[in-house]
C-alpha cells in the first residue's frame, strides 16, 4: 500500500513544480494536476478498500524521528481514508469539470486547487492542533483564490467577505489552540485527550474558542451571510468544492475535536446545528437563484450533520453510520447539482425548463435531487431513518420534529425546482450542450449515489432485507428507453405477471387481495399503454417503480421495508403525475402531501420501535408506550394517501391532469396503498383511545365527511376527470368508515368495496380517458351525444356508474347492502345516514357524467371522432366481465374476504347458502335478483319492441321545441352548471375552505421565510456583527450568562 504521506507529498510537489512550467503550457499543468489528484484519490481509495475488506490496523505517520506529542503526526484510519477519498475525488472531478475554466484563468488556479485539496487532506489526517490550524488557513486562502476566479464585483466582494470571516475564525481558532497549549501543555490531540481536561481551570474557555471556530466554519444560522454570498456568486465548480470538499473536511474536524467539548457544549453545538438546519431550509423556500438555493441547502445539511455529531453521546454507536450516510448523499448530490447549475447558467429556477433540451442532464438532475432529499434508494434515506429511530429510542421528540420539518422544507424547494425543470412552460430556445469533461464527473457521481446507497443499505442490519429486485427491474427500464412502446409495454406486463406468478403463493390472503389489486390491476392499466405510439420516454421506469413500491408494501415484514416501499411508490407516482398537462402545481402538492405523510409515518414507526428488539411490522401489535400517538401519526400518514378530508387537496388536480392510463393507475390502484396501510395499522393496533373517545369513532366521522364532501364536490365539477377524482375521495371515505367500524361486516364492506372501487374507477377513468384522448378536452359541457360515436365506451361508463351508484342488480349493491347491515349492527346511525345521503349524491354526478358526455346533443366538431383506441377498450372489457361475474355470483368475491377476516373478527359473519347471504339483520340473494331483473327486463323489452317495431329514427334536432327549432347543439345541450338549483340550496357546503386553509399555511411559511431572509443584506459589516453577536450569545449561553 502506498504510504498516505505521498498524498501530501505528491500534491505539494506537483504544485511547486507547476511554478517551473512555462507560461503558455496550461494544458500540461492541468493534466499534471489531474494526474496528481487521480493518484491521491487512488491512494485513499486503496486504503479505504483495505479497511473495509481486510480490516487492517490504523496507520500512523510520524514526520520526524520523535514520537508525538513532540512531533507532528498524521493518522490514516477507516474514517480518514473515506474522507480523504471523498475530498480527493471532488478535487479530481471538480478539477476535470472546471478544466477549461481553470486553464483560462492560468496555471496558478491549478496550484490553488491542488493546495486546497492538499490542505484539506492534511486537515483530515492530522492529529496536531496547530498543524490543523495551518492547513485550514492554507485551504481557506486557496478557496479565496478560487472564488475570485470570476472577476466581477459580486464575486470579489464575496471573496473579501470570505477572507474577513475566515480571518476572524482563524483568530479564534488560534486563540483557542494557544490557550489549550497553555493549559494542556501539548498540541497533540490524542495526548490532550488523555489528560483530565476538567481539572484544568480556564481550559473550558480555550475549548470554547476552539469549538466555536469550528462551528463558525460550518456557517451556522444566522452568522452565515458571508457563506451564502460565496455560494451565490462564485463559480459553480468552486461552490461545489466549497460545499463538498471544504464542508466535508469541517465535519470531520468537528468529529475529531468533539471529545474536547464538555457535554453541555456538545448539546449547544447540536442545537445550533438543528436550528441552522430548520431555518436555512425555511429560507431556502424563498430562493429563486439556484446557486443561492443550493447554498442554503448546503448550510442546512452541514447543520444537520453538526446536530447529529453534537448529540452523538445520545445516539451512540450509530452516529458514524448516520453521519456518513447523510454526508455521502449530500456530497454526491450537492456537487452534482452545483455542476449542473454551472452548465445550465440560468439565474432563476423558473427558467430551468431549458434543462429539458438535454435528457441526460435532466435524468441526472432528478437523481441528485432525490439523493439530496433523502429518498430511497440513496444513502440519505437510511441515514434519516436511523436518525429518527434513535431519536425516538431516546425520546427526543422535539428533535424528531425539527429534523422532519427541516427536511420537509427542503423537499418543498427542491421539488419545486424539479417541477420547473421537468414541466415549466417557459420555453428557452437554446439547446444545452455539456462538454464531455463536464458530463463524466456527473455520470460518475450519479452512479456513485446508487452504489453508495447499496453499500450503506448492506451495512445496515435491516436494510439488507429489502427486496431490490422490483426496483432493479424498474431502473433497468431506464436503459431500454430507446425501444418502442410496444416492446417495453410487453416487457413490463410480462415482468409483473411473472413476479405475481412466482410469488403469490407465499402471500397470506390479505396480501393476495391487495397484491391482486396492485399487480393485476397494474397489468390491466398497462394494457391500455399499447395505445400509445412512439417511445413514451420516462413512463415505464416510473410506472414500474410505483408498482415496485406497491409490491414492497404488500411484502414488507419490517417497518423499514414498508417505509422504503412507501417512498418508492411516492417517487414513481410523482413522476407519473408530473407527466400530465398543467401538472406542475398538482404534482408539487402531491409530493408535498405524500412526503409530509411519509414523515408522519416515519415518526410513528420511530415511536413504535421504542424499547423493541427489532423493527418488524409485528411490533405494532404490542405497543406499551405512546400507543394513541403512534396510531394517530400512522393513521394521518396513511390518510394523506387515501385523501381524507383536509388532506385531499392534492388529489383532484393530480388525478385529473394525468394521462389516460395514468389516472386509473393513481386513482384506482395507488389510493389502495393508503387503505392497505390503514388495514395493517388497524389489524396490528386494534382500537385506540384518546381519553374516552375511540380513534375509530373519530375516523368514522372523518370518513363520513370525506365521503359527503367528495361526492358533493364531484357533483359540481365541469371537468370529467376532476369529477372522477373527487368521486375517488368520496369512495375512500367509505372505505375509511368501513374500517373504522371495527367489525366483521364493516371490514368486509371496506375490503370488498376496495376491490369494487378498483374495478369501476379503473373502468370509468379508462373510458373517460379514451374519450378525452379523442376529443382533446376534459370539459363535459363541450361534449355530448357521443353514444353513437363511442358505443363501447358508453357501455363501459354505463356499467361503471351503475356499479358506482350501487344500484342492484350489479355488484355495487353488495357494498351498499353490507355497509347498511354493518351500520345497523354497530348502531352508528347518524354516520350511516350521512353516508347513505352521500351515496345518493353519487347519483347526481353519475348521471351528469354519462349525460353530458354520451347523451344529449352531439357537437358538430365531434362528427368524425372515432371510438376510443382499441387498447384502451381491452382492459375495460376485461374488467366488465369480472364485474358481471361478481354481480351474478357475489359470494365469489365476498366469501373469500369473509373467510380471510374470520381470524380477526369471528363474530357477525355472513352465512352463505349458495348465493344467498344472510346476516343477523337481513338477507340478499344476488343471483335471483339478477335473474328476476333480467327476466322482467326481457319480457318488457319484447313487449315494447312488438309495439314499437317500426319506430322512425330521427336526427338530433327533431325535438318538440315549443314550435321553434334549436339552432346550435351548444345552446341545446343542457350540461353546464348542471345542478344549479342544488348548488343554490346547499352549495355553501362546498365552499373551498380547506384549500384556502392550505394556501394560507403556504403563504405563512413563505412570509416567515421572507422575514428571516431579510437579515442577509449583503453588507460585510453586518455579517461581521452577526458573527460577533453569535459568538457572544453562544458564549453567554454556554457559560450560564442567560
Amino acid at each position: 500500500m502506498v504510504d498516505p504521506i505521498y498524498i501530501v507529498a505528491v500534491l505539494l510537489g506537483i504544485s511547486f513544480s507547476l511554478g517551473f512550467i512555462g507560461k503558455k503550457s496550461e494544458n500540461i499543468a492541468g493534466i499534471l494536476s489531474l494526474l496528481a489528484l487521480g493518484f491521491t484519490t487512488l491512494v485513499s481509495a486503496q486504503w479505504f478498500y483495505n479497511f473495509v475488506t481486510a480490516d487492517i490496523e490504523t496507520y500512523h505517520i510520524f514526520t520526524t524521528a520523535f514520537k508525538p506529542p513532540f512531533s507532528i503526526n498524521l493518522m490514516m484510519g477507516k474514517e480518514e481514508a473515506l474522507f480523504t477519498m471523498m475530498i480527493n475525488a471532488i478535487g479530481l472531478f471538480g478539477g476535470l469539470y472546471m478544466f477549461d475554466r481553470l486553464k483560462a484563468a492560468g496555471k496558478n488556479s491549478f496550484i490553488a486547487l491542488l493546495m486546497l485539496i492538499m490542505g484539506l487532506n492534511v486537515v483530515v489526517m492530522t492529529r496536531d492542533l496547530f498543524n490543523l490550524f495551518v492547513f485550514l488557513e492554507i485551504s481557506s486562502i486557496a478557496v479565496a483564490g478560487l472564488i475570485v476566479l470570476t472577476q466581477n464585483t459580486k464575486s470579489i466582494s464575496a471573496g473579501f467577505k470570505f477572507m474577513i470571516a475566515t480571518g476572524i475564525i482563524s483568530g479564534l481558532l488560534l486563540l483557542g489552540i494557544a490557550f489549550i497549549y497553555n493549559y494542556a501543555g501539548s498540541l497533540n490531540i490524542d495526548h490532550i485527550l488523555t489528560q483530565n481536561l476538567e481539572a484544568a481551570k480556564g481550559l473550558s474557555i480555550a475549548i470554547f474558542f476552539l469549538m466555536i471556530a469550528i462551528v463558525l466554519e460550518m456557517k451556522p444560522f444566522p452568522a452565515n451571510g458571508w457563506g451564502l454570498d460565496v455560494y451565490s456568486s462564485a463559480e459553480s465548480g468552486v461552490s461545489s468544492l466549497l460545499s463538498s470538499a471544504y464542508a466535508t473536511a469541517t465535519v470531520f474536524v468537528l468529529m475529531k475535536l468533539l471529545p474536547f467539548a464538555p457535554e453541555n457544549l456538545q448539546f449547544l453545538i447540536a442545537a445550533i446545528g438543528i436550528i441552522t438546519f430548520v431555518f436555512s431550509n425555511l429560507m431556502g423556500m424563498r430562493q429563486d437563484n439556484p446557486n443561492r438555493m443550493l447554498g442554503y441547502s448546503s448550510i442546512s445539511q452541514i447543520g444537520l450533520l453538526a446536530a447529529v455529531i453534537g448529540i452523538s453521546s445520545v445516539i451512540g454507536e450509530y452516529t458514524y453510520f448516520i453521519v456518513i450516510s447523510i454526508l455521502i448523499s449530500h456530497f454526491l448530490a450537492k456537487s452534482g447539482l452545483f455542476w449542473i447549475a454551472g452548465i445550465v447558467k440560468q439565474e432563476s429556477i423558473k427558467n430551468w425548463s431549458v434543462l429539458r433540451s438535454n435528457k441526460l442532464l435532466l435524468v441526472l438532475f432528478g437523481v441528485f435531487i432525490f439523493a439530496l432529499t433523502g429518498l430511497p434508494p440513496f444513502p440519505g434515506f437510511f441515514g434519516k431513518w436511523e436518525l429518527v429511530m434513535h431519536l425516538a429510542e431516546t425520546k427526543n421528540f422535539i428533535w424528531i420534529f425539527a429534523v422532519l420539518i427541516g427536511s420537509f422544507f427542503e423537499v418543498v424547494y427542491m421539488f419545486r425546482w424539479l417541477g420547473y425543470a421537468v414541466k415549466n412552460d417557459i420555453i428557452i430556445e437554446t439547446k444545452l450542450k455539456a462538454k464531455i469533461h463536464q458530463i463524466i464527473p456527473l455520470l460518475l457521481f450519479a452512479a456513485a449515489a446508487f452504489g453508495a446507497g447499496y453499500y450503506v443499505s448492506s451495512e445496515h442490519p435491516y436494510a439488507s432485507l429489502i427486496n431490490y429486485l422490483p426496483l432493479a427491474v424498474a431502473l433497468g427500464f431506464a436503459f431500454i428507453e430507446f425501444l418502442p412502446v410496444f416492446i417495453k409495454n410487453t416487457l413490463a406486463i410480462a415482468a409483473m405477471a411473472a413476479y405475481f406468478y412466482f410469488n403469490y403463493e407465499s402471500y397470506n390472503e390479505l396480501q393476495v387481495i391487495f397484491a391482486a389489486i396492485f399487480i393485476i390491476g397494474g397489468i390491466l392499466t398497462l394494457i391500455a399503454g399499447y395505445a400509445y405510439k412512439g417511445k413514451r420516454q420516462g413512463f415505464y421506469p416510473f410506472a414500474l417503480m410505483m408498482f415496485a413500491g406497491l409490491i414492497g408494501l404488500v411484502e414488507a415484514t419490517t417497518t423499514l421495508e414498508f417505509f422504503f416501499a412507501w417512498e418508492l411508490m411516492t417517487i414513481g407516482s410523482y413522476f407519473l403525475i408530473l407527466r400530465g398537462k398543467k401538472s406542475i402545481k398538482h404534482a408539487l402538492s402531491y409530493i408535498l402531501f405524500s412526503i409530509g405523510g411519509a414523515y408522519l409515518i416515519l415518526a410513528g414507526f420511530g415511536l413504535a420501535a421504542i424499547g423493541k428488539p427489532d423493527i418488524s411490522i409485528g411490533i405494532l401489535s404490542n405497543i406499551e408506550l405512546y400507543a394513541p400517538w403512534i396510531f394517530g401519526l400512522l393513521a394521518i400518514g396513511f390518510m394523506t394517501k387515501t385523501a381524507s378530508i383536509g388532506l385531499h387537496i392534492w388529489l383532484p388536480g393530480a388525478h385529473a391532469e394525468a394521462e389516460a392510463d395514468v389516472s386509473p393507475m393513481v386513482s384506482a390502484i395507488l389510493l389502495k396503498a393508503g387503505v392497505f396501510g390503514l388495514i395493517m395499522l388497524f389489524l396490528a393496533m386494534g382500537e385506540q383511545f384518546i381519553g374516552n373517545i375511540s380513534f375509530a369513532y373519530i375516523l368514522s366521522w372523518v370518513g363520513v365527511i370525506t365521503a359527503l364532501m367528495g361526492n358533493m364536490m364531484a357533483a359540481f365539477q365541469e371537468d370529467a376527470k376532476r369529477l372522477l377524482a373527487y368521486s375517488s375521495i368520496g369512495a375512500l371515505g367509505y372505505v375509511l368508515f368501513g374500517l373504522s367500524l371495527m367489525s366483521h361486516l364493516g371490514w368486509l364492506t371496506a375490503i370488498s368495496f376496495s376491490v369494487t372501487h378498483f374495478m369501476f374507477k379503473a373502468l370509468l377513468f379508462l373510458a373517460i380517458g379514451g374519450v378525452v384522448w379523442r376529443l382533446k378536452t376534459k370539459d363535459m359541457y363541450k361534449m355530448g351525444g357521443l353514444i353513437k360515436k363511442m358505443p363501447f365506451s358508453f357501455i363501459s361508463v354505463l356499467i361503471g356508474i351503475i356499479v358506482l351508484a350501487g344500484v342492484p342488480p350489479l355488484t355495487g349493491f353488495a357494498g351498499k347492502w353490507l355497509f347498511f347491515q354493518a351500520v345497523v349492527e354497530k348502531q352508528w346511525f347518524l354516520q350511516g345516514a350521512v353516508l347513505f345521503f352521500s351515496g345518493i349524491i353519487a347519483f347526481l354526478y353519475c348521471f351528469r357524467l354519462i349525460h353530458s358526455i354520451f347523451l344529449g346533443q352531439p357537437k358538430d366538431e365531434h362528427r368524425n371522432v372515432k371510438e376510443a383506441p382499441f387498447w384502451i377498450l381491452v382492459p375495460q372489457y376485461a374488467i366488465l366481465m369480472v364485474i358481471m361475474l361478481f354481480s351474478m355470483l357475489p359470494n365469489s368475491l365476498l366469501k373469500p374476504i369473509g373467510d380471510m377476516l374470520m381470524p380477526y373478527f369471528p363474530d357477525g359473519a355472513i352465512t352463505w347458502d349458495g348465493q344467498m347471504a344472510t346476516t343477523a339483520l337481513g338477507y340478499w340473494n344476488g343471483k335471483t335478483v339478477m335473474f328476476i331483473v333480467v327476466g322482467v327486463f326481457a319480457i318488457v323489452f319484447g313487449w315494447l319492441v312488438f309495439m314499437n317495431r317500426n319506430a322512425k329514427k330521427v336526427k338530433q334536432f327533431n325535438i318538440g321545441y315549443a314550435a321553434e327549432r334549436p339552432f346550435l347543439p351548444e345552446t341545446t345541450h343542457y350540461a353546464f352548471n348542471f345542478f344549479a338549483p342544488y348548488k343554490k340550496a346547499i352549495g355553501f357546503l362546498v365552499a373551498p375552505g380547506i384549500t384556502n386553509f392550505w394556501h394560507r399555511v403556504d403563504e405563512g411559511a413563505h412570509s416567515v421565510s421572507d422575514k428571516f431572509t431579510k437579515i442577509y443584506n449583503g453588507n460585510a459589516q453586518s455579517y461581521l456583527i452577526h458573527i460577533v453577536a453569535f459568538i457572544l450569545v453562544i458564549y453567554l449561553i454556554s457559560f450560564g450568562g442567560f
Binding site: 378536452t777 322512425k952 330521427v954 327533431n958 318538440g960
Partner: protein, 214 residues
C-alpha cells in the same frame, strides 16, 4: 331568426380537420311521411277508434284570439274532461291540434312544424271564420284565408268567435268522425304531401326547415 344558423359553415375537429356543417341536412331527418293503413281486422280497428275518440289529448297551442275560448272548457261549467279531453304540453303526446283563430304566415310556419311533430293518427280542429275563409282578415297581406290548403282539417267550428258550447259540439263531431273511421286526415296529408307542401311554400318564402318535421 337570424339566417346564419341555417347556412353552411365550417367547424374544426379536435385534430383540426375542417368539417362542413349543413344545418338543415345534418340536424334534421329528411324523410317524408308515409301512409299508415288502418288495421284490416275491423273489430280491432273499431276498438282502437273508440279508444281514440274517448281520449282526445289536445295540444296547448293558442294561435289566435280563439285560444281564450278554449280555457273555459276546463272549468266546472263546461268540464271537457268528462269526454276524455285534456291538454298536453308537448306535441309528441297530443292527438288534436286546435287551431284557434286567424293564422298569420309566421304563425302558420310554427303550426305546420308542430302538426308534423305530432304522432298519427292526429286531428286538426279549426276554430272561427278566419280559418275557413279569412274572416275579417280576408284581404290582409299577411293572414291566410283557408287552412285546409295547408293542413288537413277534420272539423271546422264556425263563428267569430265560436263559444265553448260550439267547441264542445265540434269535439263531439270529431269523436263521431273518429268512431266512424274517417279521422284519417294525417294519411291524407301524407298522400297529398306535395300539394300541401307547395301551398305552404308558396306563402312561406324563406323556408328554413326540412320538408317534414319529424
Amino acid at each position: 331568426m337570424s339566417k346564419e344558423h341555417t347556412e353552411k359553415r365550417i367547424v374544426y375537429s379536435p385534430e383540426g380537420d375542417p368539417i362542413e356543417v349543413n344545418p338543415l341536412q345534418d340536424y334534421f331527418c329528411e324523410d317524408l311521411p308515409e301512409v299508415h293503413k288502418a288495421s284490416s281486422i275491423a273489430i280491432l280497428e273499431n276498438f282502437r277508434n273508440w279508444a281514440r275518440s274517448r281520449s282526445l289529448w289536445v295540444l296547448g297551442f293558442g294561435t289566435g284570439c280563439g285560444a281564450i275560448e278554449m280555457r273555459p272548457l276546463m272549468t266546472p261549467k263546461f268540464d271537457a274532461y268528462r269526454y276524455g279531453i285534456q291538454w298536453r304540453p308537448t306535441p309528441r303526446q297530443a292527438d288534436v291540434f286546435v287551431v284557434s283563430g286567424y293564422l298569420s304566415v309566421k304563425t302558420l310556419k310554427r303550426v305546420i312544424r308542430t302538426y308534423e311533430q305530432m304522432q298519427g293518427p292526429k286531428y286538426v280542429m279549426a276554430l272561427g271564420s278566419c280559418t275557413i275563409n279569412g274572416g275579417m282578415y280576408w284581404d290582409s297581406y299577411n293572414t291566410i284565408n283557408r287552412l285546409d290548403y295547408y293542413l288537413p282539417v277534420d272539423v271546422y267550428v264556425a263563428g267569430c268567435m265560436p263559444r265553448p258550447e260550439a267547441l264542445l259540439a265540434g269535439f263531439d263531431q270529431l269523436k263521431k268522425i273518429i268512431r266512424e273511421g274517417r279521422g284519417e286526415g294525417y294519411n291524407k296529408y301524407a298522400e297529398e304531401f306535395a300539394w300541401y307542401k307547395a301551398n305552404q311554400k308558396k306563402i312561406i318564402k324563406d323556408w328554413d326547415m326540412p320538408d317534414y318535421n319529424w
